[in-house]
Amino acid sequence: MSTQKPVVVKPLPEQVKMGHIQGLMREITPLLKQDRPRIVFDFSQVCQIDSAGVDMLVDCVEEVARRDGDLKLAAVRPESAIILELTRVDRLFEIFETVQDAVDSFDGLFPLPGRTEAGTRHLSSDAANVNGLGD
């Protein structure tokens, strides 16, 4: 019987910069406050990220770690990857080429994607759970 929580995929906007952070944090905070959150930040749309965005990522990973969860990054474009490398934040995260790879990485099983609310996809990485065979 699996007790794994579903993986939450949060697509980030084009700009993760000062001025956009507050609104973004309002969306993200409820996800971080869950027990053992399992989150993937989808970077595929992110073109610009600055030090405020990097600070936000650090805050998020700290919060997730505090709750014994995990936060992974996926589909990071080169422009963002350079900033993450420059600020050494890349070493705080597991970074995957695709969102699916990131989701799969949580336990190595093949999940079925699903969308439960606007802007946020909840994907279970536990096949049994998705098929309704879990608890």
Binding site: D50, D55, P78, E79, L86
Partner: protein, 370 residues
């Protein structure tokens, strides 16, 4: 034999086409010609002028369009004649006028150079080859194509050289007998080439040597550089004039910090060139990059970025603006331990300097010796 030289600088100097014999390349970084960018303490323009003077060329004219006036003036020496043209398209006609002036003054040959590629050739051999061939124009080529260097005889009638959109074409030259150089050539087409030039200079593959004093094998430090005692410099590296390297910074693997740069607390610079007056923020990892002001070219990802965040990168103008309008430190900044002061008044290098590890640069130490 009286020889003069005309040096054309700037992207507008390259306006060739398929038939012109002038390469259609625009060697620039952030709009500035690479020839005007300091590499290991001196611009390639200055190095080319010094080289010509060493080879006995008496009169040297540097021609550029007006947009480059600040850059060119900052490098102007009394021994060179600077000509600025208002309309970029006038660059080649201005070269023609200068050529005519030199011929009137009794010059036998004129070396015409469009400063795109960095080329080291034996001028004596080139002039001898030119005389022996008896042709009005001798173009210089390497294995891959034209280098936009020519020798023109005084007898050369420039007006007979067909004119094109750049003001002049070297079509006659390209069809003539070419002088093929086997000297060092770097086409400086992009940031990758700029980095190659720095590495080649450290390795002694070309004649360029870093300015300043070699304080340890492979480590050059220029005047007024300040390195914190807790910073580390690992050979080969170049610390330019007036550079400040703050505490716990690391400069390593063929990196060069050009004049007036500042590397903040804990930042690592590895296999990178930091160009004039650039400030790197706190705790960064600058690797495989060329950085100038807010611009960064990452050579591994092959991506150029403009980073408008003074906490990461800034040029001198940004630093001045910060002094007038101080910014509130971010939460991350406040977590960073207090930054110790530099050893003000340090006459040279105070930081820890490490020789190159043998595994990193085997048997290259002799190449770094003066």
């Amino acid at each position: 034999m009286l020889v003069s030289a005309i040096l054309l600088v700037g992207p507008n100097a390259a306006a060739g086409d398929r038939d012109s014999g002038v390469s259609d390349s625009h060697e620039s970084l952030g709009g500035d010609p690479i020839a005007c960018i300091e590499v290991l303490g001196q611009t390639l323009l200055q190095r080319s002028v010094s080289r010509l003077q060493r080879d006995g060329v008496r009169d040297i004219a540097v021609l550029a369009d007006h947009s480059l006036s600040t850059l060119i003036r900052s490098q102007h020496t009394r021994s060179t004649d600077m000509v600025l043209v208002n309309d970029p398209m006038d660059l080649w006609p201005a070269a023609q006028r200068k050529f005519a002036e030199y011929v009137e003054n009794g010059v036998d040959s004129v070396v015409l150079m469009r400063l795109g590629a960095f080329v080291e050739f034996d001028l004596g051999c080139l002039l001898q080859f030119h005389r022996e061939q008896g042709q009005p124009i001798t173009p210089v080529y390497d294995g891959t194509g034209p280098l936009d260097y020519w020798v023109l005889s005084a007898s050369c009638d420039w007006s007979e050289v067909s004119t094109g959109r750049a003001g002049a074409k070297m079509s006659d030259a390209s069809s003539g007998i070419r002088f093929r150089t086997d000297g060092y050539v770097n086409r400086l087409a992009n940031a990758h080439d700029l980095r190659h030039l720095v590495v080649d200079s450290f390795l002694g593959r070309c004649e360029i040597r870093p300015n300043g004093v070699q304080v340890k094998p492979g480590i050059w430090v220029d005047k007024g550089a300040q390195v914190h005692r807790r910073a580390r410099i690992v050979a080969p590296a170049y610390i330019g004039r007036g550079v400040k390297v703050r505490s716990d910074a690391l400069i390593t693997r063929w990196s060069s910090l050009e004049r007036g740069c500042e590397v903040s607390y804990g930042t690592v610079v590895e296999d990178s060139s930091i160009l004039v007056d650039t400030r790197l923020g706190t705790g960064l990892d600058v690797t495989h990059a060329v950085v100038w002001g807010r611009n960064l070219v990452n050579l591994r990802h092959d991506v150029a970025l403009e980073i408008n965040d003074p906490k990461l990168l800034s040029g001198r103008t940004d630093i001045r603006r910060q002094l007038v309008y101080p910014t509130v430190p971010s939460p991350v900044e406040s977590k960073v331990p207090e930054q110790p002061d530099l050893n003000e008044g340090a006459s040279g290098l105070r930081g820890t300097i490490h020789d190159a590890k043998p595994a990193l640069v085997p048997s290259r130490r002799n190449a770094w010796a003066d």
